[in-house]
Structure formats: structure tokens, C-alpha cells
């Protein structure tokens, strides 16, 4: 023992060689982590202030409202998501790929856009009243939030369940059948248990979304933690209440679900060996005729109706100032995409090439930040910059950096996947040919990661384009983006004014989504 220790001490250890990777990684994660920790310590450290806010009685109603919404949304999106996934992946439904693709599309439509469209459509003076002659009840409050957030979240469950169904191996079902189990028993005892981790994970993601969503619940005037945080922040000198609600309520609740989600994901097992997909279940003639009707109905409610409402309103709102919002959105999304891609390089290299407790911890930290309610993260940044970095307070740079850091995992995952496809021998060959690690990184590693970095950048672009709460909190005065414009107009009940930016936003978001789909079809 002592001998080996002395040998280890005597030897030059290559510890310092990745310092530049760590510096690069911390340059993008650190600016977010420090404010978050500061906010957390400040709030938890000042017990009396927290108690004053929490003992007022109102938070109890917020808890009930938030959990109620999360429960209703989760139930709805699991039902819809699993049904759509099974019909499009597990049966011989006609045009099942097309159905699967179309029904997943609401994923690219932000919840506040759908909310704005339904609010514009309903009510006595609404679009539906003009079209149908009957006015629909206004979907505000719980019902509205439930409808809109469910539309935004069922594709999450659908995608998770679809992937799991696609990954099922026929072998186990066949083995069970050969052992004498009926097809119903096979589904219950063999198929479903294999899908459960994916469905649970999707359900928890939906619940987390419902808790964290700000745009839709605020437009629907439904009091959850996010809306209360923003209301307590906006126009107040004393922001203690906002901070306490954001940290204790919102963050606390989210962490429970994040924890559960991580646990559920850990249980999903990887497929091994040669994979033979499931035999598709045949639909009966009756099912064959009513299934498309049901799926069509869902497509109308989730996608077609909101888009049509937006189109019908397009001409009615004024377009002044729209180009500034477009420029703001594109600029912010591009800046965030570039920053996140750059930040993803050192983290991906650390995790894939220098795996250690520290590098894995760093990667997990970025995922944890990504899962936190964006409102809490935004509030932490505002709070910290206002107190300590007045030069950066409400600057474009800080806003872009925050968006990049929040969406960093979207860039890390493809970058890391690309890197893991690269044989480390290539980098070693470069070293033995006389190139320093940094030169090797620039001339071999990064050029080979290009495709992964581009995919990641595109994903971040797409996410930052739609980001609302962080932009609302951190934007410089006069700086506008499409989401801010849509939300402000709808919040002031000028739904017609929100239609044009909403359509533009969906159109812009569809371009990178389309590019990504084409790219994945190529592979």
C-alpha cells in the first residue's frame, strides 16, 4: 500500500492536461449555476421571510391548483399518447407513419400560441362564433389550461411510448405465446411491463411540463406557481415573495418530479442482440373505420383548429413592429445555438473521452438545469445580475447565455453521440503524428463532430426561438421577440394582434424541425 502510494507520488500525473476543456465547460455552465445556488442559499437561509410568504395561506391554493393541473394533464396525455403510439406503431393502421408524424406536430407549437388561438376562438365575439354562429364557452381557468397543456404534452408521451414499442423484440412475445399465454395475457404480462418505464418517464415529463408551464396558464388566468411568481415579480420593489414562491414552491415541486423521472428512466433497459420488431396487430374492420375518425378529431383539436384560427385572424392585427420581433427572435435563437454548440464541445469531449465522476457530474448538472422551471432559472439570473452585475443586467448577452445554458443538453446529446461514433484511435494517431491535444481537437475531433454539432445547434435554435419566461424576465428594455409579442398581446386580450407573430413563429420553428426530420430520415 505505502509502496504503491510512493510510486504514484513520484510519477508525473497527467492531471492538468484537460484544464482547457474544463475552462470551456465551466464558462457556459458556471454563469447559470452560481446565480441558482445564490438564490437557493439566500432563500433557504432567510427562514422568516420564507415563512411570512408561505404562511399567508395562498400557497396552499397554489399547490392544489398546480398539482390538480399536473394530475389532469398527465392522465389525459398518457391516455392520448399511449393510444396514438400503439395505433401508429403496434397495429396495421393505414398511413400509420403519417398519422404518427402529424399527431406529434403539436410538440413544435408553443403552449401560449395554442392558448392564444383558443382564447381568440371562444366567447361571444370569438372566431368560432363568427364561423358557426354559436359561441363556445371561453376556455379560461382550469379547463383552458388543461386543454392547452394536454395538447402540448401528449406528444411527449406518444414519442416515448412509440420508441419503446419500436424497440420491443418479438422474441419475448413469441416465447410467451409458445408457453401457452393468450394474446391478451401476453400484452398484460409481457408487452406492457416492457413499455411501463417509457410510459412512466413520458408521464413524468408531462407532469413536469404542466408544473413549469408559464405561457398557457398565465394566458388562461389559472393560478399556478408560475403565474404567481411572475405576478409577484412584475412591478414590485420587494421581490421576496416571487423568489420564495419560485424556489420553495416551483423548484421544490419540480425537483420531486425530476427525481422520479430520472429514476424511471434508469429502469428502461437497452435492447440487446439482433432486433426483430413486433408483429403488428391487425385492426378489425370496425376499428379500421373509426380509428381514423378519432385520430382526425385529435388532429383537428390539437393542430388544425388553432392554426386555422390564427390564419383567419392574420389580416386583422397590425403588423407594425413585427420585423423587430422577428429580428430579435432570430438573433437570440442564433446566438443561443452558437453558444450552446461551442459549450457542448468541451463537455462532450470530457464525458466521452475523459469520463470521471466530475465530468459525468458536470453533464448531469446541465440536464438538471434543463429540467428546472425556466421561470426559476430566469428569476435567479435577474436577481443575481441586478445585485452583482449591473453591467450585464437586462443585457442581450446575458439573455443569450442563459438560453444557451438552459438548452445546453440539447446540444450535448448529439455532440456526444457523434463523438462516441469516432474511434479514439483517430485522436491517438494524431497525437503520435506530433499534434498537441488542442490541435488534435481542432483538426480531428471537431471536424468529425460537425454533423452532431449542427443537429444540436438546430435543436437549441428551435427551443430558444420559442422561449418565453426567460426572455420576459431578462430582456433589455425595447428588445422584443415573437413569443414576447404573442404573449403580451394575448395577455392584453388583443388576440388578433397575436395571430401574425404566432403564425410566423410556428413557420420559423417548422423549418429547423423539418431539417432535423430530413436529417434523421437520411440516416
Amino acid at each position: 500500500m505505502t509502496q504503491s502510494a510512493s510510486i504514484a507520488r513520484g510519477f508525473h500525473r497527467p492531471r492538468a492536461t484537460h484544464w482547457y476543456l474544463w475552462a470551456g465547460a465551466l464558462a457556459i455552465v458556471g454563469p447559470l449555476l452560481i446565480p441558482l445556488l445564490y438564490l437557493l442559499l439566500r432563500t433557504l437561509g432567510d427562514g422568516s421571510a420564507a415563512w411570512n410568504v408561505l404562511s399567508s395561506g395562498r400557497p396552499l391554493r397554489l399547490v392544489a391548483n398546480t398539482l390538480g393541473l399536473a394530475a389532469a394533464v398527465t392522465l389525459t396525455s398518457v391516455t392520448l399518447g399511449v393510444a396514438v403510439a400503439w395505433l401508429t406503431m403496434g397495429t396495421d393502421l393505414r398511413h400509420r407513419r403519417l398519422w404518427g408524424g402529424v399527431l406529434a406536430l403539436p410538440l413544435v407549437v408553443p403552449s401560449y400560441v395554442t392558448a392564444s388561438a383558443y382564447l381568440a376562438a371562444a366567447g361571444p365575439g370569438g372566431v368560432f362564433a363568427n364561423w358557426l354562429g354559436v359561441s363556445l364557452p371561453s376556455p379560461s381557468g382550469f379547463a383552458g389550461a388543461w386543454l392547452v397543456v394536454s395538447i402540448a404534452t401528449y406528444p411527449l408521451v406518444q414519442l416515448a411510448a412509440s420508441a419503446a414499442i419500436g424497440g420491443l423484440d418479438r422474441g419475448r412475445e413469441e416465447a410467451a405465446r409458445l408457453l401457452g399465454a393468450s394474446s391478451a395475457r401476453v400484452f398484460r404480462t409481457v408487452t406492457l411491463p416492457q413499455l411501463r418505464p417509457a410510459i412512466t418517464s413520458g408521464a413524468l415529463l408531462a407532469a413536469l411540463y404542466a408544473i413549469s408551464d408559464f405561457g398557457a396558464v398565465s394566458l388562461m388566468r389559472y393560478d399556478t406557481f408560475t403565474r404567481a411568481v411572475y405576478a409577484n415579480y412584475q412591478g414590485r420593489v420587494d421581490r421576496t415573495a416571487a423568489v420564495v414562491l419560485a424556489v420553495v414552491g416551483l423548484l421544490g415541486m419540480a425537483l420531486i418530479f425530476i427525481w422520479a423521472e430520472v429514476r424511471a428512466r434508469g429502469k428502461a433497459e437497452a435492447a440487446t442482440g439482433t432486433h426483430r420488431p413486433l408483429t403488428r396487430n391487425q385492426l378489425t374492420p370496425r376499428q379500421r373505420s373509426w380509428v381514423p375518425v378519432g385520430l382526425g378529431g385529435l388532429a383537428v383539436v390539437a393542430l388544425l383548429a388553432p392554426i386555422l384560427v390564427l390564419i383567419s385572424q392574420f389580416g386583422e392585427g397590425s403588423l407594425t413592429g413585427l420585423s423587430a420581433a422577428v429580428r430579435g427572435s432570430l438573433g437570440l435563437a442564433a446566438a443561443a445555438a452558437v453558444l450552446a454548440s461551442l459549450g457542448a464541445i468541451p463537455i462532450a469531449v470530457l464525458v466521452a473521452r475523459h469520463r470521471s465522476r466530475a465530468s459525468l457530474g458536470l453533464e448531469r448538472t446541465t440536464y438538471a438545469i434543463h429540467s428546472l422551471p425556466h421561470l426559476t432559472v430566469g428569476l435567479a439570473m435577474v436577481h443575481f445580475s441586478a445585485n452583482f452585475l449591473p453591467l450585464l443586467y437586462q443585457s442581450f448577452g446575458l439573455l443569450a447565455l442563459t438560453c444557451a445554458a438552459i438548452f445546453l443538453p440539447l446540444a450535448i446529446a448529439p455532440a456526444r453521440a457523434a463523438l462516441e461514433m469516432i474511434d479514439p484511435r483517430l485522436e491517438e494517431a494524431s497525437r503520435t503524428l506530433g499534434k498537441r491535444p488542442l490541435v488534435t481537437l481542432a483538426r480531428v475531433t471537431v471536424p468529425m463532430m460537425r454533423a452532431g454539432l449542427a443537429s444540436g445547434g438546430l435543436l437549441v435554435f428551435l427551443a430558444a426561438l420559442k422561449e418565453l419566461p426567460v426572455t420576459l424576465l431578462l430582456r433589455p428594455t425595447e428588445f422584443e421577440t415573437l413569443p414576447v409579442r404573442i404573449w403580451s398581446a394575448s395577455n392584453d386580450l388583443f388576440y388578433a394582434k397575436a395571430a401574425a407573430p404566432a403564425l410566423l413563429l410556428v413557420g420559423l420553428a417548422a423549418i429547423p424541425a423539418l431539417l432535423l426530420t430530413v436529417r434523421s430520415l437520411d440516416d
Partner: protein
């Protein structure tokens, strides 16, 4: 005494507690090819990577030329060691064409275009400058990898089972070609393999490795015909062992009395390689053929002796033997080991 190009001394390396090298020592003579031969998992690839500077050992030293590159308080980065490496896979940079791959290590050299052309002609791929790695066959890619490793004129070139990914006919041709190129450029080369035949055919010296250390170094015929112990003997080729009693320059065994070195006395172990066994068809022979494998260029025949002992013999591809034939067995030579 020839000049030593690479000197390794008492290298120890563990992976997560599992020892890979346990006191690895080796001298590689300058300007010659040395094969590092051992079963999988004996640490030969690790030894190569330690020499290249791709692994940090816990103890021991590596010297390249006169310079200590790995040692207590000293570690020269791989990019400053000037050793070329060829891996099992060609590991060509897929985003660069053949010329840029070969020129990668000499990007500062103003004459690199000329050097690349020279190397391409050496490997028989003149005119391939603009090709992409994905358009090359396995053998071509390996040759480009060799040219890339040779381009900076390294002190030594390390080859880590470079032909393992190729099929047999190509593998033999590549072995011959690479050997010719290495000899022509007078490169110092360390060639790692687990294939006995490849090691014996490829190199001027063979170093046999076992459990993290070199157990025997010598010319191919020396290690094959005079292995240090029964393990090396068995590892280098098929061998039959039996007990014997040595004394006065002779060894007495169940299969007869053979000459041996005069310094051996007392109980010994005796090795008989199949090619030391001669067979003759004979109606009254002492052996009976019980198994027969025909390889084209030769055949391996298992014979059961009168006392039930089995012995393998390698003979030319004729005369033909069949299971059941009676044969007379003559043992030309044996190797005795002290037990």
C-alpha cells in the same frame, strides 16, 4: 552489440486494479523488426501504448534513443516522442483525403507534397492523393496508414496487430509488403501480434510475453526450437510432452533415447514437435493412424503408439495416410527441459 532504439525497464501498469504489465522490460534494437507475441490479454497492446505515451504506467521507465520519455517525474507527451503508430483499424481521418492524411504529421514541411508522392509510390498507391478513405479497400487503407505513420520519419514505428482486420490471403500479402517497406526504410519497428506464425515470419526478433512481462527474446528459430519453458514451447506451436530422465548427454524416455545437452541431469520434460516426427507405412509398424487432417501444403497425422500414447506428426502432402493405417514412427530430435 547493436544500438538500442527503445529501452523499457520494469514497467507496471494496472487498469482499475487489474495488472496489465508486471515488470515489463524490453530492448528494441535500432533498424530491425521485433515482434511482441503473446496470448490475448497478456498486455502486449498496453506495452505498445506505454511506449507511444498513450498510457501512463505506475512505475518503470521508457527510453527512446538517449532520451527518457516515461519515468519518475518525467513524461514526454505522445506528440513529442516521434514514434509512429499503426492500429488494428487503419484509423484514417475520414474528413481528409489520402494526401492530407499522409501529410497530417508533416504539415510544417515545405516539401510535403513530394514526400507524400514518394510514400505513395513506396506503398504502391501512386496517384491516390485525392481519394477519400471510405473509397479505399481494407488493404489500401492499411497501407495509407503505414505511409502516414512513416511520413514524419519517426524514431520507431509501433504496429498493433495491423492485419487482424484483413482476411487470410490479403493478410499474408500485406505482411510481406509491410515487412519489405519496413526493411527498405530501415525503420525500427515493434509489431504486436497474437499469431505465432505472423510473429515468426515478420521479424528478426521475437519477444514472447506472458502475464504482463517478456519471458523470452530471441531470433524466431531460437525461440521456436529452444523455448525457455514448456509454456513458451506450447504457445509457439503444437508440441507433445513426456517425462524423461537425463544424464551424460542423453535423455531416456518412453519413446526412446535421444541426445541432449550434457549439462542436463535427472528428471526432465521432453518436447516433441510434430515436424520432428517421421512416419513410414509399415505392416508391422508400432503405431496406428487415428486422426488425419489434410492442409494442402502438408498434413497432420495423429498416431496411437503401442503403449496407448498419442503423438502428432507433420508430413509433406504425400504419401497419403488414412485412419487405421499402420505406421512406423521415428523421432528425429527432441528438446528437453529441466523440471
Amino acid at each position: 552489440m547493436t544500438e538500442v532504439a527503445i529501452r523499457c525497464r520494469e514497467i507496471t501498469k494496472r487498469f482499475a486494479g487489474v495488472p496489465a504489465l508486471t515488470g515489463f522490460s524490453l530492448d528494441v534494437p535500432a533498424g530491425s523488426i521485433l515482434s511482441l507475441l503473446g496470448p490475448s490479454g497478456c498486455g502486449k497492446t498496453t506495452a505498445l501504448r506505454v511506449i507511444a505515451g498513450l498510457e501512463h504506467p505506475e512505475a518503470g521507465t521508457v527510453e527512446i534513443g538517449e532520451e527518457t520519455v516515461t519515468g519518475p517525474d518525467r513524461f514526454v507527451a505522445p506528440e513529442r516522442r516521434k514514434v509512429g503508430m499503426m492500429f488494428q483499424e487503419p484509423a484514417l481521418f475520414p474528413h481528409l483525403d489520402v494526401e492530407r492524411n499522409i501529410a497530417y504529421g508533416i504539415s510544417q514541411d515545405p516539401d510535403r507534397t513530394k514526400r507524400v508522392a514518394e510514400l505513395l509510390s513506396l506503398i504502391g498507391l501512386s496517384g491516390y492523393q485525392r481519394r477519400r478513405p471510405r473509397d479505399l479497400s481494407g488493404g489500401e487503407a492499411q497501407r495509407v496508414a503505414l505511409a502516414r505513420a512513416l511520413a514524419p520519419r519517426p524514431h520507431a514505428i509501433l504496429l498493433d496487430e495491423p492485419f487482424a482486420g484483413l482476411d487470410t490471403p490479403l493478410r499474408e500479402r500485406m505482411r510481406r509488403e509491410v515487412r519489405a517497406i519496413l526493411v527498405e526504410t530501415r525503420a525500427t519497428a515493434v509489431f504486436v501480434t497474437h499469431d505465432q506464425e505472423e510473429a515468426l515470419a515478420m521479424s528478426e526478433q521475437v519477444a514472447v510475453m506472458r502475464e504482463g512481462r517478456v519471458v523470452q527474446v530471441g531470433h524466431p528459430d531460437q525461440v521456436y526450437l529452444h523455448p525457455l519453458d514448456t509454456w513458451v514451447a506450447r504457445f509457439l506451436g503444437e508440441a507433445h510432452f513426456l517425462a524423461g530422465e537425463a544424464g551424460a548427454g542423453m535423455v531416456r524416455t518412453a519413446l526412446g533415447v535421444f541426445p541432449t545437452t550434457p549439462d542436463l541431469n535427472g528428471p526432465v520434460e521432453v518436447m516433441i514437435r510434430p515436424e520432428m516426427v517421421k512416419l513410414r507405412h509399415a505392416t508391422e509398424g508400432g503405431g496406428r493412424v487415428i486422426d488425419h487432417e489434410f492442409f494442402g501444403h502438408d498434413q497432420l497425422i495423429t498416431v496411437e503408439m503401442g503403449n496407448g500414447r498419442r503423438l502428432a506428426a507433420r508430413t509433406g502432402n504425400r504419401p497419403n495416410y488414412a485412419v487405421g493405417d499402420r505406421v512406423e514412427v521415428e523421432i528425429a530430435d527432441v528438446v528437453a527441459f529441466r523440471t
